[in-house]
Symmetry: C2
């Protein structure tokens, strides 16, 4: 994208929407959300998404057991369906196979994906194979949204709504740092020569989530069915970037309280408070849910979910106030979208901006 | 696929089917046909396929106007739906964007795809963007099969059925040779310095089809609705390979008559009879339909279609007789599957076996 690089992902998506205007009345949610929603027949709606893992961009050759690649290729798509409140059912897989890929690794990739598919009741119904220079796994996932349940979208946030996230942030980014600093994943645990038991436990927690993100399907479905959220999306590219997307779609701003952010405890332990904050704000691939909830529904939400299942991190404000971070003394500063842009920042996870 | 390369596409598909067994009763056609068929709701069935174009594998950088890449990325998927008798409706697009791609070329790719989509009533409803080293366009296409129409599959051919194809063969492969021998595509026509009018007309015909395959949607849909074919697929990887796939799926053999093969006239003109035959047998990407028809339905077929719309090229025989070519003196020789294998023969179109 020599010159196109100036665009970034959002601008390109806007242009794609202009080139492909949708006039089809069966399309309930078009390009621009976590997944598309189609009214196909009867009262149920079909939900569709596609996402890919590319060697050299999303992973490096040999950086993890092969089966975890297969697991994750499906996992990132499951997270998109979770963000729409949908129940996954069918998948298609495009495999880009390079000459260097070992047969045994390919089988392990497929087995890892099959295990994840079984866990969530997903059937692989089709796909395609192609030769390629780099390994890539491109999954298209289909699921259902039950009758009468509106699709939770990015554009529904209103001024005054509470902003919440479904778990700690920065875990994925910490896991990447751990791998880069000599930790490895062996026999379902993190290992580094000479590391003590406490650090090993913290590293294990972070690396497990780094390697196998757990899509929030049950939570996403519950929130959609109960109609509690005004907006919902998954956190794939970092809170700062994804929150900016939600605000843009809803034409609102946001105030995020630093003291309320659920920092990854292992990140605090390994890297200190400031670095943990930086990872929480700008580290991608946490695959938590980011939701907004009208104040009137907060009580119902609290009755429905265990404490801390969703953590309030701020409030929706008017668009002209922008997106701001607030510290414990009440001082504000802007929160620019500095997370992962799939076009502008290849390997952005290695060079995050400071918090 | 250092060691995996020994497998080839068919073996890998078999293994994928074993790793992902489908027990889902809503899946009417699973992995292994041109597209998957789902019973989603009501009597209509959803038909799904995915296919990709990869730089360095399916095209070379700058080898054609950018808009034709977008056109073809959708076109190859439309051809898969044509082979299932389906009517296309919705598409998702995964874009793999390399640093070298110019912004203007990207827009032209998208516009070319949008034009093709409009022509066939397809709405782009979603997709994803990723950075990549090489350009790739991965399309997932959805369509409908009308109530009561059985999906025409590869496995339905029976001994005695007539084998037919929907147009001349080897056109794509000839087009590739023309491009490699100095012909170019300018202002909707083939051009080479010093070439006469007759050769230019022949080259234009071949290059047009090479650059913009026309999916046989109307024919595929008609054949499915009228229930005239016992098996159907599209010719994407060369007659010799695709016929072998159809025979394998149906557990039959085939006798193909050389004199009946609809050789590309431009190939005969440019390269002679023998070379035209070689291209017809082993050249991929013609995107014609390959069908088998029981003798009892031949009369109905002839009443339905203009003469030569489908050309009989041979007969289905028992499996143990294999797949054979028959010349005008009645002499037989085996027809091994030597077309395009997506895993074994990158750029196979440059080095086809002799006919």
């Amino acid at each position: 994208l020599t010159r196109g690089r100036a665009w970034g992902e959002e601008e390109l998506v806007r242009r794609i929407r202009r080139i492909f205007p949708v006039t089809d009345r069966q399309v309930e949610v078009p390009i621009g959300d976590d997944a598309a929603v189609l009214r196909v027949a009867g009262a149920s709606r079909l939900v569709l998404t596609t996402d890919q893992l590319v060697e050299g961009i999303h992973f490096r050759r040999g950086d993890r057991p092969a089966r975890l690649l297969g697991d994750k290729a499906l996992g990132v798509n499951l997270s998109d369906l979770a963000a729409m409140g949908a129940t996954p059912r069918w998948a298609l897989l495009s495999l880009f196979l390079p000459p260097h890929l070992r047969r045994s690794d390919l089988l392990e990739i497929l087995r890892g994906m099959a295990r994840r598919a079984r866990k969530h009741g997903v059937s692989l119904i089709g796909g395609n194979l192609t030769a390629s220079k780099a390994l890539a796994l491109d999954v298209t996932l289909l699921g259902w949204l039950p009758p009468g349940v509106p699709a939770p979208r990015r554009r529904g946030a209103r001024v005054g709504d509470v902003i919440l996230v479904s778990g700690s942030l920065g875990t994925y980014a910490l896991g990447l740092q751990l791998l880069q600093s000599g930790w490895t994943w062996r026999d379902s645990a993190a290992y580094k020569r000479g590391a003590g038991a406490q650090r090993s436990r913290a590293a294990t927690r972070a690396l497990r989530r780094h390697l196998t993100p757990e899509p929030e399907l049950a939570l996403g479905s519950l929130l959609a069915r109960k109609g509690l959220v005004s907006a919902m999306m998954d956190l794939s590219d970092g809170l700062s970037r994804d929150l900016a997307r939600l605000c843009q779609a809803s034409a609102v701003g946001a105030r995020v309280e630093i003291s309320s952010l659920p920092l990854e405890p292992a990140a605090v332990a390994f890297a200190g408070q400031d670095e943990a904050l930086r990872l929480a704000l700008h580290g991608g691939e946490d695959y938590r849910l980011l939701v907004t909830v009208p104040p009137s529904r907060l009580f119902a939400l609290k009755r429905l979910l265990p404490r801390h299942r969703l953590r309030a991190i701020g409030r929706v404000v008017v668009a002209r106030d922008g997106i701001k971070l607030v510290d414990s003394t009440g001082r504000e500063r802007p929160l620019p979208p500095s997370g992962y842009d799939h076009l502008r920042t290849p390997r952005a996870r290695k060079r995050l901006p400071s918090a």
